[in-house]
């Protein structure tokens, strides 16, 4: 029998491995057992590496934060004093508005649940490559996290949970090309769908070409997608281009810079459209 040359044997091995890996990818898309088993083995094998990496990273981050804080404290102090003076005035005005809000809500017979139940999480690692933008957070199924829960940070919406393990969860960022959230322009109440485009600015789709949108408009979640409660910042309009078909071409600068996310909140109640609920009748003795 003629011996197979090493180059041919390697090409054959490539074919076999490629076929097996394509099957594995197909299985993982369908949530098959084979995909889960191999993924589980990979996770178990690399867990000690990740544990060591986390310990080292934490020390490095602490050192970085220490030096950054020393420099920032002085400037922060001056800024905060000005902010306190400004907020004192705002507070007085806010009190008036709050009372008015309560009166109007009573008139409408509605109440608003502004504080959805949530759990805080820290980012373990991120991948912000061209075609995939994901962060890994240190809360998982044991903390009540489930797929499709909304993830937010100070400033706005971050993304949604796509898969959950016992102690961590993978979050697909809003800037990922396969992400999207329904949004509304605060000023004109025009609705659309904000979708990610990788490292490029986000795009807002399905906005009628006659709609009132200008550069600088703020876009927040509308709550219609059933994942994000309404009111979380999505971004600001940076470009209103020529209409494509019946739709305006709009670019958004994301409200949360995904290159600097360190801590997030995972909203445990998928309360996209359930913010407004009828007020319970008062019980009188």
């Amino acid at each position: 029998m003629a011996a197979v040359s090493p180059a041919r044997a390697n090409t054959l091995l490539l074919g076999v491995m490629s076929f097996a890996l394509l099957l594995l990818m197909a299985a993982s898309v369908r949530g098959g057992v084979a995909g889960l088993a191999v993924a589980g083995a990979a996770g178990t094998a690399s867990a000690p590496i990740v544990a060591a990496e986390r310990s080292i990273t934490r020390i490095v981050l602490d050192v970085i934060h220490f030096f950054r804080d020393i420099d920032a404290d002085e400037r922060e102090n001056v800024k905060l004093r000005r902010e306190v003076a400004r907020l004192a005035g705002e507070l007085a005005r806010g009190g008036e508005l709050s009372q008015e809000n309560v009166r109007l809500r009573r008139l409408l017979g509605m109440r608003e649940d502004l504080v959805p139940k949530s759990v805080g999480a820290s980012v373990v690692t991120s991948r912000l490559s061209g075609q995939s933008r994901i962060v890994l957070v240190d809360r998982g199924g044991s903390d009540g996290v489930r797929p499709d829960m909304a993830v937010v940070a100070w400033g706005g919406a971050v993304g949604r949970v796509v898969s959950v393990e016992r102690d961590f969860a993978r979050v697909r960022l809003l800037t990922d090309p396969n992400s999207g959230a329904s949004g509304v322009i605060v000023r004109s109440r025009v609705e659309g769908m904000a979708v990610g485009r990788g490292a490029d600015p986000m795009e807002m789709l399905y906005v009628p070409k006659y709609a009132d949108v200008v550069v600088g408009d703020r876009v927040v979640t509308s709550g219609l997608d059933g994942v994000f409660p309404r009111g979380f910042g999505l971004g600001r309009v940076t470009l209103v281009g020529a209409p494509i078909g019946a739709s305006k071409s709009i670019r958004l600068e994301p409200e949360v810079d995904d290159r600097s996310i360190e801590d997030v909140l995972i909203l445990l109640q998928p309360s996209g459209t359930r913010l407004l609920t009828p007020e319970e009748p008062e019980v009188r003795p």
């Binding site: 091995l13 990818m25 993982s28 993924a39 912000l128 898969s163």
Partner: protein
């Protein structure tokens, strides 16, 4: 012993890659540290070992940072290991420019293969920015050349320290 070194390399690359994603997330756009073990094995050992090292590293990476297509990095790095291992067997790439070209090209091909496979599985693709690709290629090339130089130095030191067998 070769397996222990391979596992050590894979572990270091994976740990460094995840650490980079935590400390400087923006940098993950320009460099993929998990590519390094595969390139080192392709240029220093054999085509087969670079394929196996690439596949293992890719699968471990997929588990932590791939939301949907588990196996995509494994497949991409297997193909790149095969291609680079084949070239490494035919040409002498162990010069600075050879290593630089190898590192730069695998970082570029990685983007292309990822995009193609994602399209195959029905995912939406982001537009490709040419300046980002250029930075990625240069960073990948320089890093590969630097790591291979360090590995070469370590290899020389190790063989010098090893006791020589005496002839009877």
């Amino acid at each position: 012993m070769i397996v222990v070194w391979a596992l050590l390399g894979i572990g270091l690359a994976l740990g460094a890659s995840l650490g980079l994603g935590s400390i400087a997330p923006w940098a993950t756009r320009y460099v993929d540290l998990t590519m390094l073990p595969m390139v080192v094995y392709a240029l220093r050992t054999s085509q087969r070992s670079s394929m196996i090292v690439g596949c293992t590293t890719g699968l471990l990476q997929d588990y932590w940072v791939e939301p949907r297509l588990f196996g995509i990095d494994g497949l991409v790095k297997t193909i790149l290991g095969w291609a680079l291992g084949g070239l490494g067997a035919r040409f002498d790439l162990n010069t600075f420019w050879g290593r630089f070209a190898a590192g730069a090209s695998v970082h570029l091909l990685d983007e292309g293969l990822q995009a193609g496979l994602r399209r195959l599985f029905g995912e939406a693709l982001a537009p490709v920015a040419l300046p980002t690709l250029a930075i990625r290629a240069v960073t990948g090339g320089l890093l590969t050349a630097a790591v291979l130089a360090i590995v070469g130095k370590l290899g020389t030191a190790r063989s010098a320290a090893r006791p020589k067998h005496r002839k009877a």
